[in-house]
């Protein structure tokens, strides 16, 4: 029996570069560039750079 085919998108975690441990969870294409965005971090109460984490969704 054929195995499950890999999905087109994957769930990724965007971690704050302010080292607060706060993160956002989004989707991106499996074949695509790593996500990075400037988003609000409530721990620091300011907009900071969020970078996709290598660890994944969990």
């Amino acid at each position: 029996m054929a195995g499950k085919a890999k999905a087109r998108t994957m769930i990724v975690r965007m971690v704050s570069t302010a080292k607060t441990g706060f993160f956002y969870t989004t989707e991106r294409l499996r074949v695509g560039p790593k996500l990075a965005a400037v988003k609000y971090d409530p721990k620091v109460k300011a907009r900071v750079l969020f970078v996709e984490s290598k660890k994944g969704a969990k």
Binding site: T17, A18, K19, T20, G32, P33, A36, V38, K43, V44, A46, R47, V48, L49
Partner: protein, 214 residues
């Protein structure tokens, strides 16, 4: 005042009924009352009855007595033995302004500002049973440690704090360092990230594994 009222209630509950019966039977000398702060052994069954007042209540009563200057009315117990009571009385005497302040708030209508002790003495003269001198039965077990609250007296180590409390300073410093250059990081990111994203208008390069190049 609430503190004096608490001590008075304690005395009315423990001392007054015994004194009433004693005065009616005309017993000589001080009335003997079993100490409600200590456990008592039943001579017939040989079992120990626990103290009438829990350790928490005892500590609260001592605090109220210290606030109202009525430490001489409380019996000695595991929280404050005879030595500890003497020490508390001495420390209370060292703060006459506090005692005077308490008296002033208590008897505002009175012309002369009398201390709570003097007020109690006056009430004794008026025939109050609750503040009459009493002999307490039972010897409290003397502890080596000082003070009413002795949480760490028998423990080797104090509570060192939660993990998050211990690491809080370090984490805050790390965050501060990270935020110092955040603005420059954001500007650099904004100027470069568009190049990294693929142009949605371009045709995607297909890689075929079946078509041979020759």
């Amino acid at each position: 005042m609430a503190a004096l009222q608490a001590v008075k209630q304690f005395r009315l509950r423990e001392v007054a009924p015994r004194l009433k019966s004693a005065s009616s039977s005309e017993a000589a000398g001080l009335v003997k009352i079993p100490n409600p702060f200590l456990p008592h052994r039943n001579p017939e069954s040989g079992r120990w009855a626990p103290p009438k007042y829990s350790l928490r209540l005892q500590a609260e009563l001592i605090k109220h007595a210290q606030a109202s200057g009525t430490l001489h009315l409380l019996p000695p117990g595991p929280k404050a033995g005879p030595r500890e009571l003497e020490r508390l009385k001495l420390s209370a005497q060292a703060v006459p302004s506090l005692v005077a302040g308490l008296a002033r708030s208590e008897r505002a209508q009175d012309a002369d500002a009398a201390s709570p002790a003097a007020q109690i003495a006056r009430q004794a003269g008026e025939g109050e049973l609750w503040n009459a001198p009493v002999e307490w039965e039972g010897v409290p077990h003397e502890t080596a440690a000082d003070g009413v609250v002795r949480l760490y007296a028998k423990r080797k180590r104090m509570f060192k704090g939660h993990k998050w409390e211990r690491t809080k300073q370090k984490r805050e410093e790390e965050r501060k360092v990270a935020m110092e250059h955040m603005q420059t990081n954001i500007e650099r990111f904004r100027s470069t990230y568009r190049r990294k994203l693929p142009n949605p208008l371009t045709v995607p390069r297909t890689t075929s594994y079946t078509k041979l190049p020759f």
